[in-house]
């Protein structure tokens, strides 16, 4: 045989072998597409997901790869609804997962478990400059004319809604504690007073923290997990837990349409079960996220004190009610923005 022909035959043979072998290798390894919000990125990327990959390999012999996307919760939710084929969504607020249920991507009752669909908790806290030079003690201090406040825009950041809900809800809760009834005017005035002092409204919670670190503002309304994460990274981030604040509950759900399409349901459901397990919950706690698992919560109760007048979204009527009451066309926050404009 001619030399050239021989070489071409060998190359073709090698090529066919490679093509034949590679898909086999790929079939061994499954890929899970994971869409989450930004705050728990380090926790998932560095700890929880590697732990699951190890656990899954040990228990089933199967290799799993995670393609991870971390975006602002609302943006991530919209992306998944628009076609990002995430197998699992771990977002900041329930509303962002409900949206996926409404669009038909999730067909099971994702809240139907011991934890009502939530994987981690957190709190809205008040961050201040080291040493607390402005002597910030409570929400009321954020109304002071000598204090500049930062929090992101609820319009562009679902996470920011936690902040505004916390302030408004604290007004309701504190007035209820004092008088026995929720005083809506008192709560509105508290929120209005704080909003008046807001200097910059960033696009997202993360952007807000960055702006604060650039030296702008005296006070940053943010989430405890964000604050603890900064501390873990070595930054001197000081904050206080207000007497009354909102419980941030972060949901996680398997996305039925995508797992059935990718044939990854078994792994995805195992992952959701895994993150509720004690080892994963402990990992979350180490990264500043409050565990939902009661036993683990007990183990970490020193690290995560419970505020005296804690309330949750249900206290405000649930997300749909909040969407109308606070952010709707006639909502409290919308009205406050308009009033502040004309007050000037």
């Amino acid at each position: 045989m001619n030399g050239t022909i021989r070489i071409s035959l060998i190359v073709s043979l090698l090529w066919v072998i490679c093509i034949g072998v590679l898909p086999q290798a790929a079939a061994e390894e499954k890929t899970i597409i994971f869409g989450a919000y930004t705050v728990p990125k380090d926790a998932y990327e560095q700890a929880v997901i590697p732990a699951f990959i190890k656990y899954w390999k040990e228990n089933t012999g199967q290799a799993v790869k995670f393609e991870q996307s971390y975006e602002a919760s609302g943006a991530q939710s919209r992306a998944i609804a628009a076609g990002l084929e995430a197998d699992i969504a771990a977002l900041s607020l329930e509303k962002d997962i409900s949206r996926l249920k409404e669009s038909g991507l999730i067909s099971h009752d994702w809240k139907q478990n011991k934890y009502h669909g939530f994987v981690t908790n957190s709190l809205v806290v008040i961050g201040y400059r080291p040493g607390n030079p402005k002597n910030i003690k409570e929400w009321d201090d954020l109304k002071r004319p000598d204090v500049d406040v930062l929090y992101p825009s609820p319009k562009t950041s679902g996470g920011a809604m936690w902040d505004v809900n916390a302030i408004y809800g604290a007004g309701l809760k504190l007035s209820e504690v004092k008088t026995g009834k929720k005083d809506y005017t008192f709560a509105k005035n508290l929120l209005k007073g704080v909003q008046k002092r807001v200097k910059v409204m960033d696009k997202s919670g993360r952007a807000s923290v960055t702006t604060f670190e650039q030296g702008i503002g005296d006070v940053l309304v943010t989430y405890e997990d964000e604050a603890l994460l900064r501390k873990k990274q070595g930054k001197d981030f000081q904050f206080l837990i207000p007497e009354s604040t909102i419980l941030i509950e972060n949901p996680i759900a398997v996305i039925d349409k995508n797992v059935d399409k990718h044939n990854t349901r078994q792994i995805a459901e195992a992952f959701v079960e895994f993150v509720h397990g004690k080892s994963a919950q402990r990992l979350f706690a180490q990264y500043g996220l409050r565990p939902v698992n009661e036993e683990v919560a007990q183990e970490f109760k020193e690290k995560f004190p419970v505020p005296k007048y804690l309330f949750d979204t249900n206290y405000l009527g649930g997300w749909d009610q909040v969407g109308k009451d606070i952010y709707g066309k006639e909502g409290v926050w919308t009205k406050i923005i308009e009033e502040l404009a004309t007050d000037k």
């Binding site: 910059v200 409204m201 702008i216 923005i337």
Partner: protein, 267 residues
């Protein structure tokens, strides 16, 4: 040859149609979906109107500054020679190459409270960052190349005979510039101005970093539109977008008219 011509023409039209005309048409049609009165209601919401006014005012102020600084820069680049001229010429286009978000971060780092300039300004109670001056600064940065690059080629081509004649007749430099050079440059300056204005109307990335984005205070139209999209009000977003589109289109027509008038004037 003929069929090749027709093919090229239809391909070009097809490309423009798909890329530009189709999306814009869809946008306009969608915005009218709720009816004209709903559209008008969305546009005339106080917050929307304020953001629109802020966008136009800041863009306009920026253009006034840009006309002067852009022309001056072009003048220096064309009429003088100095070491590093090539480098400076290349640097002019830097804002085009930079992602606008990066431009925003850079401006905050440069003028924010932690910087030398920033703390100096704060000490004198001059609010630049997270206020209207900050917006204008961001706009100046991203639109800087427009006026310069519009004026530069015209200046290069400019016949200096008239200037020299004027000089020999005893005219001062100022007179020479304002009465002889400037009129010739006017069309290109206006072109650059129109381009910067158009660009400024839609600027988002840098502004969202430096503006503060407080509704009714420092929130520009693009940020308002983004907020509406992110809070499930795409109709509201479309309304103001169509208005911005209208302004941009008007600028484009103006640009074309300037160029047409210029060509006629030359002959």
């Amino acid at each position: 040859m003929r069929s090749g011509d027709a093919l090229l023409r239809s391909a070009s039209f097809g490309y423009i149609g798909l890329l530009i005309i189709l999306p814009i048409t869809v946008m306009i049609v969608r915005s009218l979906q709720g009816g004209l009165s709903a559209l008008w209601a969305d546009i005339t919401l106080p917050q929307a109107l304020f953001s629109l006014r802020l966008t136009i005012v800041t863009a306009f102020i920026m253009v006034l500054i840009n006309i002067v600084t852009g022309t001056a820069t072009a003048w220096v680049l064309v009429r003088y020679s100095f070491p590093g001229k090539q480098v400076m010429d290349a640097l002019i286009d830097l804002p085009f190459a930079m992602p606008t978000i990066v431009a925003g971060i850079m401006l905050v780092a440069l003028y924010g409270p932690r910087s030398v300039i920033g703390s100096f300004l704060q000490g004198h109670n001059i609010e630049v960052m997270f206020n209207t001056p900050g917006i204008i600064l961001a706009l100046l940065f991203v639109t800087f190349p427009f006026v310069v690059r519009a004026v530069q080629p015209v200046l290069i081509e400019l016949d200096q005979d008239m200037e020299e004649a004027a000089k020999t007749l005893g005219a001062s430099s100022a007179t020479i510039f304002f009465r002889i050079v400037l009129p010739s440059l006017m069309p290109s300056i206006l072109t650059g101005a129109a381009l910067s204005f158009s660009r400024a109307l839609g600027e988002f990335g840098s502004i969202i970093m430096v503006a503060g984005n407080i509704p009714f205070r420092t929130q520009v139209a693009s940020v308002y539109i983004y907020g509406e999209i992110e809070s499930y009000n795409p109709q509201g977003a479309l309304g103001l977008s169509v208005v911005l589109l209208f302004f941009s289109f008007a600028i484009l027509l103006l640009l074309n008219f300037i160029q047409y008038w210029n060509r006629r004037h030359e002959n």
